[in-house]
Symmetry: C2
Subunit: 548 residues, 2 copies
């Protein structure tokens, strides 16, 4: 016996329908790629997205076809999204920060038929178009005036498509398991792999993130998503803002402190989301210019661990509350947020800080477990750390085209590749990447924890910890230190500095001073490259052992 | 092509699993039916609900079987809910306020196999048990001490079932369209009809109501649902509170002002939900005793229209924000809430009041339309009123066993039976019941609007408006007035009082003074009975017409 509540498939076109019907006059403001501020509304975006749907159908796009976007956060990008998804095609967001050959691999792997691009990326696409045979049509996201400077054979003008097509098209009406979006992981090992979102997964992610204890957007919010639509779905804001009628402020291509500050103030932004570097730039700009934040109330920070100084800066200098968030492309992307539970909320601001720096709590719809190498569950005591696995209706089940094979454990959990602790309040904290963690005598040592402590030494500019082979313990930690300019130090100074701050057996077996600690494309320490550079290194403790 | 995000059916057992895992120590406090305050936690409730599942299996309950509860809001009632739903059986909530023969009809129609009851209802069940042949087992929701006073052959003791069974049982694992709950409408015409909720509809209702612009519960909230689990699912709070880890305070059988006030203060309640009469009793109690509300921040009021005096009382005397809500059994039950959008929030408190008294805005997942008798859509201008129809994933598609036949229009909308306006901000306001609205010359007249104005006359105790047959206009309004004790008045006094307040053609054709205006079981004016009593009444204007 099945129930007989209404059959109402969870398809994302209904989100923009809702915005048009109930928040049709609510503004969407963009800093256009061409320069000027452009103002539109959910009502107009709905109309224009429908026209784009007809344009795509005219270009031969069918249900299931992939249509790529290589674009900044703007109103036009939202129109493209809903125009694509509404007719059951798949919106494949491309990350312009990837290397050109990675981009080409991804477009070819996805077999994208149409590619929407901002003016910014026309030159690079022109250079590589011959390597992208699946793309039949190129749409430049500009108007006829903007097209004048475009030197790209056969390119279509976005505004022409909008103008020349009718809005008379039916959206939705298909299974909620129909794919809606495609995003490739950055792929630090091997080729990038695609996560194929569904209408259902996007819709459920939207509902969950609207919860008071998650992102909690409301019709009264003015939301500026700095976090890009091209990576991790702008943390779902392109869905959640129209779902409640928040005003949207889209920053386009300018993410520097001054540009963001200008939009925050001129548009009355109450809520924003970005990675730590963006907030660091903003804070620096505000301090330099003696700037104020007169309307901003909440910022969500994710993408990498939040430095304490950012939380304090926002709180103490600007009265803005910081919520730490964690997620990944494979999770649509949100997994946890550090919104306080009742016990934490009862603490002083200073005591709460420790929890604000953790990655946070999981909402209903995100299951988490910590396991050891044998797959056994570990306790939630805030100190035991293990691999972090996740399960839920907006978490990847298989990668696109089956890449990587079976990726779930026998309980249906996906391995995040992170190593974490979970405390008694349910706050998760990432302690390391699984591939970086040091396994010493069967126990695990967090490289990140030692790095974060060591970099607090006044002479350190940057620190990294890696594991080095040891005949007895398998691996032992080595601390690499890049000193501040013109400074000298001894190994003992650093080892003494760490003493008492970490367990004795976590103490690095060696300290190596280096001229350079390499950073990857996202600003994180590139451990893979460091390990390559150190491949001939032998621990002094290993040598002693051998010579003993 | 379907996507490959994880297969994670939306079944409500996952909500209590989540509460146990991440909010296991959070309290659920009940005023027990036996008297004392009983404290438990989500962790304990999870364990005990699982034991009940095994007890039910032992009693022969299988997937799809209906298990009834006739019970107040308590922790035990929650245990019964999840114990029943977790194994795919259907929790059929019975409303003790129904007449005995309605209750018997419902139990027989549902073919309930097991019936859980509070001590309160044992006498009435004993009287009627012979008429309920489908019920094989009767479970009294008490402990062995409480059973001593129970004179009911073969009755099982709730605490015995918990004690004697193991918690080792698998929950869920079935299709999310599996029925989870059953609730009958009050059935003002014909027999009550059953709404068969599904795991999916309950889960989606939970996610939607957790949104900041809907109920917006958080882990920091302490929630007292006065609104009963036995009717309209306690507005979903038995799902939404555990879904976020709100502390739950369950009022049991005592809903008077003093008892509610005591719980609000002793347990630090921040959020509560009830019908207007409960709040009226609370306000009266607070004024009498000079009581304070030191922790309560928000109350949601629904079930019938909220009098302005309640909103003002809470706001001005106690600093508590009132949110008006509207819904119905067929909607799981929430449809709209009067949380402000940006434009309304920018108004003064006094200007906002007008919108607070409307039934409110629809969240994503609730579609609404206003139509005329021909089914054509009407404008959202705040004055045009029409039949209110709704559509969404937690709205009824068919009644249980197909009662009432096809109930959706060709666009898939369900007719609420209400007549309403929707303004430019999307605020819906109920103006009448469709069966009460007066159709005069093809236009509609709201009886409720005239009643609300007329009752403002200083001599009126109660007013009702009904339509009376008219040879030219089909129907014309008649105002019935019950005067305050010892007062006299003329028809003209009332007609003059209304002049200028309503359109001229809405002016009643007659005023009839009556000794009694009958109220139904829920405190609303019983128009059906009034129309019966007035069936021989002839309008003076109709007579004139005839004699002319």
């Amino acid at each position: 016996m099945l129930g007989q509540m209404q059959d109402w498939p969870l398809t994302v076109d209904k989100i923009l329908d809702h915005a048009k019907e109930w928040h049709g006059g609510r503004e969407v403001v963009s800093r256009s790629v061409e320069g000027p501020i452009v103002r539109t509304t959910y009502g107009e975006i709905h109309e224009r997205a429908k026209r784009l749907s007809n344009a795509l159908k005219g270009l031969g796009v069918q249900k299931g076809d992939r249509v790529a976007t290589l674009a900044w956060n703007t109103g036009r990008h939202i129109e493209a999204w809903y125009g694509i998804m509404g007719i059951g095609a798949v919106c494949h967001t491309l990350n312009p920060r990837l290397f050109a050959d990675q981009l080409c691999y991804i477009v070819n792997h996805a077999e994208d038929k149409v590619l929407f691009t901002d003016l910014t990326f026309v030159p690079i696409l022109k250079q590589h178009r011959e390597k992208l045979p699946s793309v039949k049509h190129w749409v430049i996201m500009t108007d006829r005036e903007g097209m004048k400077g475009v030197d790209f054979e056969g390119a279509l003008c976005f505004e022409d498509l909008v103008e020349q097509n009718s809005a008379d098209v039916t959206w939705g009406g298909f299974d909620e398991q129909t794919p809606s979006g495609l995003c490739y992981t950055s792929g630090t090992t091997g080729n990038p792999k695609g996560v194929l979102y569904t209408h259902r997964s996007n819709f459920l992610h939207t509902l969950v993130t609207l919860g008071s204890d998650v992102m909690g957007l409301s019709a009264r919010d003015v939301v500026l998503p700095v976090v890009p639509m091209f990576h991790a779905n702008a943390w779902g804001i392109a869905f959640s803002a129209p779902a409640v009628g928040s005003k949207l402020v889209m920053p386009g291509a300018k993410l520097d402190g001054a540009s963001i500050h200008e939009l925050l103030e001129s548009e009355g932004v109450t809520f924003s989301a970005a990675v730590p570097t963006v907030w660091q730039m903003l804070l620096a700009h505000l301090r330099e210019t003696n700037g104020k934040l007169t309307t901003l109330k909440r910022v969500v920070i994710g993408g990498s661990a939040v430095p304490e100084a950012i939380v304090r800066g926002f709180r103490d200098e600007f009265g803005v509350d910081v919520t730490h968030a964690w997620g990944m492309t494979e999770m649509s992307p949100l997994g946890t947020l550090s919104n306080p539970n009742a016990a934490i909320a009862a603490l002083s601001d200073e005591e709460q800080l420790k929890f604000k720096l953790k990655q946070g709590r999981a909402p209903v719809g995100v299951e988490m477990k910590l396991v050891n190498d044998a797959g056994e569950r570990l306790p939630h005591d805030g100190t035991t750390f293990g691999r972090l696995l996740v399960k839920g209706p907006f978490i990847v089940g298989k990668y696109f085209k089956g890449d990587g094979g079976e990726i779930l454990d026998e309980e249906g959990f996906f391995d995040t590749g992170d190593v974490a602790t979970i405390d008694q309040h349910g706050y998760m904290q990432i302690t390391d990447r699984a591939k970086d963690v040091i396994k010493s005598g069967g126990e695990w040592i967090s490289t990140i924890e030692i790095e974060n402590l060591a970099v607090g030494h006044e002479k350190a500019a940057l620190c990294a910890v890696i594991g080095a082979a040891h005949p007895k313990w398998d691996e032992r930690p080595v601390l690499l230190v890049k000193l501040k300019e013109g400074v000298e130090a001894t190994k003992e100074e650093f080892l003494n500095f760490l003493e008492g701050k970490i367990a004795k057996w976590w103490t690095p077996d060696d300290v190596v001073f280096v001229d350079d600690i390499p950073l990857g494309a996202t600003g994180k320490i590139d451990k893979k490259l460091i390990r390559d550079r150190m491949k001939d290194y032998v621990l002094p403790t290993a040598k002693e052992k051998v010579s003993a």
